[in-house]
Subunit: 156 residues, 4 copies
């Protein structure tokens, strides 16, 4: 099956040459696909999470430690645009960066692309909020340690 072409959606992508993204490689295995032989659309949500956590690990932070310390970062908004199908056996790269912090909301953006950057499979945005693990309530402000760590991420 050839790629899915949805008119002008791909044309909205900006050139990225001078921007800094964290890159997380993936390979499409059978369990990622559905009957169509391409990545099932929900599989990407797991990849976005993995890329985000690995991005934090690249600056020395283990998300599980934040959780153990009482602060969780659940997803409160997720949006994905699917541009092309990605087939079993292919490799791809999940590119991510934190676009901005607004209070306790962290805005991340994503592109899943071919290794040569010529094809974009999906683009996505994810918003997280800082939540107190004990009470389940949104924190008033980001813990200083977390804020400092996020400041070390590749600038967008």
């Amino acid at each position: 099956m050839a790629g899915l072409k949805v008119g002008r959606i791909q044309g909205r992508m900006q050139p990225l040459s001078d921007e800094k993204w964290f890159e997380y490689p993936v390979h499409v295995h059978a369990h990622h696909t559905d009957y169509a032989g391409v990545v099932w659309h929900g599989t990407y949500v797991a990849w976005l999470e993995e890329a985000r956590v690995e991005c934090l690990r690249s600056v020395g932070v283990e998300y599980a430690d934040w959780v153990a310390g009482g602060c969780e970062l659940p997803v409160v908004e997720l949006s994905i645009r699917y541009h092309r199908f990605l087939q079993m056996g292919k490799s791809a790269v999940v590119r991510t960066r934190m676009r901005k912090m607004t209070g306790i909301r962290l805005h991340w953006e994503y592109q899943v692309q071919s290794l040569d950057g010529q094809e974009t499979y999906i683009t996505a945005q994810v918003t997280l909020v800082a939540v107190d693990r004990q009470s389940g309530k949104v924190l008033r402000r980001l813990p200083a340690e977390i804020k400092d760590t996020l400041a070390k991420l590749p600038a967008s």
Copy 2:
């Protein structure tokens, strides 16, 4: 862990009493949850798919038959807002309806709520397009049979 409260997001929900939704019940099992004991945010994507396909089955159509007939309906846009956590062992209902058709694009909307309708866990929108299975290309128009079936769905 108590529910996640994100300011005014929940206030945007409209009263639904005079609207027709297809309702698909779910129960939260261990494999739906993550370390926080609540439904992992990507799990909902599977439930949205199940509710959509079961909605079609409620009017006599098996999606797999459309696929066998050469027409697929892949997701091209997905957006989810997470309002409250949904815990292991709880039951909930996925409410869905097709909001509109614009050419070959089908716009579905969703609410995952408690059985009594008092709590909303997520709201979501999904857009599908009709694609030719052989070529992978977007169809110019919806096959008549599919269009007729969709017209039978609960009106929004």
Copy 3:
């Protein structure tokens, strides 16, 4: 794709007419399948869990309540034989029963079959142990409440 026929494996199935099983229906959606258009082999593990928990619910117990009460039942052994492929769009039934208790080990068995019982897709065994949630250690004996509940399950 036709069913997978693996020699005499199917012939080992016993007639089941006089036995009591709990039956949990499933329907194959896209996210359950892989590139081959049939249920991905790992998907069954989720269905086995769902059937087991729903079997407990059928006698009035919510597994999440046992967990909240401090007792978990993690899987310590799992074995599955795959007899036939199960295709997207098909319905099937997960048949399960607790075969025996040996101390704190619970032995469950499963068959996933077509609705008419004519085709067997997989057969499986799962062994659980009772674990103290706080310490993570295996309990010396089953809590009385849990033992009593399990005694109410369909006898094998």
Copy 4:
């Protein structure tokens, strides 16, 4: 939660120092876990598949190419023993090797261990058969190309 200790099961592991295994690293993300904060027992099935396919890639073969060429290798038997819990945020290694070929049946074995090899989380066996993609029937013999490739794998 501490590790799950199930009596003498771990004692059955043999020393592995003089054997050749393919090693595939994994890191535990939120979507791999369940309410207990540890890897959900079904998640391992995906990791076993990934390790097997990456093992083939390490000798130059892409499984998707075999599928495109008409030969699939579905799983016909799977068994897993769970020895210890593996927690979110931890890294581990999936060690695998093809133990033997008997006709068209390929027998693989696995260990998921801590990076230092001191802890074993699970051990597993998976049996695959070669199936003709078109007919869905088991092949009489392995295609020569596939047999030659498998002969290049780390010897057990």
